[in-house]
């Protein structure tokens, strides 16, 4: 329960951090808040040769809100979002999600960029960022690029990041303020990993919706059929649940995962999607 040996560097600037990461590609790991990497080091699930501590880089802790859009540095901790120090351009969704991540002692350290980069299927930010249509700003010594949150994770703990790249910031589009939202997380106890988590957003003018499901071993999944079933609904009625169930089954079948789900997994996924939809519609 103690980490294997590693070397440690705390670069003083983002450029220096990117240089170190490039020079040690594949051997170095970035440490921001350490709330995911810390356990992995202690359990020796991660045994990097070099830990690059980016936890104090000011460049990563900035945030800027202009015309309803928000660019938030990857190193901003969840508690700063929970407490409203970061403007919640999504009308309360960001604060709600941040407050539900693990425990306050974890939220005081864990960062939004770290959560996304770690790509745990049970993590809180990825489905929300996909629902909001967020873009991730990716940096390396070679270049800067942007990628949609939906294209970022490629599997369990796997992302499109090259070994020399890091997330520098997350951009939430100004359209976020035009959305009604719902969010529901099913976990064994407050702060535990999500068994199922759903984020639903609906354009206030009823033109469209997005629904995202994640949790346990399920990497975030866009649910286009479910979104269509939700988009035009003006008021929640008892019929909605059955319609959403049908649409969700169709979405899951289209992804080839419907038949592999146990009855219980389907039930909790349906519950989280339906409750998130109900909150967004109401």
């Amino acid at each position: 329960m103690k980490p294997a040996e590693f070397a440690y560097a705390r670069p003083g600037s983002l450029d220096e951090a990117l240089r170190l990461l490039a020079d040690n590609a594949g051997r170095g790991r970035l440490l921001a808040g350490g709330q995911s990497l810390g356990p992995m080091l202690n359990l020796r699930l991660a045994t990097p040769e070099l830990v690059i501590d980016i936890g104090r880089l000011r460049e990563l802790q900035r945030f800027e809100s202009t015309d309803g859009a928000l660019v938030i540095g990857a190193g901003v901790c969840h508690a700063d979002i929970e407490d409203g120090r970061v403007p919640d351009v999504a009308g309360g969704l960001l604060r709600r999600v941040a407050a539900g991540i693990a425990y306050r002692a974890v939220r005081n350290r864990g960062t939004i960029g770290g959560s996304l980069a770690h790509a745990d299927p049970a993590a809180d930010w990825p489905p929300v960022m996909i629902a909001l249509g967020a873009e991730l700003h990716i940096a390396s010594v070679r270049n800067r690029r942007r990628i949609g949150a939906a294209e970022f994770a490629t599997g369990v703990l796997a992302t499109v990041l090259e070994p020399d790249e890091m997330i520098e910031a997350i951009q939430i589009p100004s359209a976020a303020s035009e959305l009604r939202w719902g969010h529901y997380k099913i976990a064994a106890k407050p702060g535990d990993f999500a068994e199922s988590v759903a984020a639903v957003v609906i354009h206030k003018n009823g033109t469209g919706a997005r629904a995202v499901l994640a949790g346990r071993s399920q990497t975030p999944l866009l649910l286009p059929e479910t979104a269509r079933a939700i988009a035009g609904v003006r008021a929640w009625s008892s019929d909605q649940h059955a319609l959403i169930a049908e649409a969700l089954d169709s979405d899951l079948a289209r992804q080839g995962i419907g038949s592999g789900l146990s009855r219980e997994d389907r039930a909790i996924h349906l519950a989280s999607v339906s409750r998130a939809a109900r909150e967004a519609i109401a």
Binding site: L31, N42, R104
Partner: protein, 164 residues
């Protein structure tokens, strides 16, 4: 690597391996064994300490990452009236049995009492979900924190307007 930080108001320095956790630095290098290590992966909360005034897991922080920070452990509350009040109600409400979780519980209780003056019992429960008590003495702990909140912020604290 050299580490220098503030520990309970005093300068503390040491030479540690990069992989040394802040918790091990506190316990093994500084010989302050009030900070307890349970799970060592962030779940049990026994190692929770205040860093720059905010509760954090000392098992998940490298000592070298804590360089220059202000760390407060269970030994560091002498003369602190808020913690004295929490102590009093922990005693009165039998909020500890074996005592293993208590240092982390106290750090979390201090955070609740100072950050959430309006917290009701449900909120206290939710805030305590990151601290495990294997004696399962939760009711006493919830009672103690509720009474400390009432004592410090006034029994009418929940009916007053919530701060922004």
């Amino acid at each position: 690597m050299k580490v220098t930080l503030k520990l309970n108001g005093l300068a503390a320095a040491g030479d540690v391996e990069p992989r040394t956790s802040l918790a091990d630095f506190i316990r093994e290098h500084q010989r302050l064994t009030g900070t307890h290590l349970g799970c060592e992966h962030g779940v049990c909360g026994a190692c929770t300490v205040l860093i720059d005034g905010r509760p954090m897991r000392s098992c998940l922080m490298l000592a070298v990452s804590a360089d220059g920070r202000d760390v407060r452990t269970v030994e560091g509350y002498e003369g602190d009236e808020v913690m004295a009040t929490i102590h009093r109600y922990f005693k009165e409400c039998h909020a500890l049995q074996c005592g293993f979780c208590t240092p982390g519980m106290l750090a979390t209780a201090y955070d609740i009492v100072t950050r959430l003056p309006h917290a009701d019992r449900n909120r206290i429960r939710a805030e305590l979900s990151g601290n495990l008590c294997r004696c399962t003495g939760y009711l006493g702990i919830i009672d103690a924190i509720e009474k400390a909140l009432d004592n410090i912020h006034g029994a009418d604290r929940r009916t007053r307007e919530e701060a922004p």
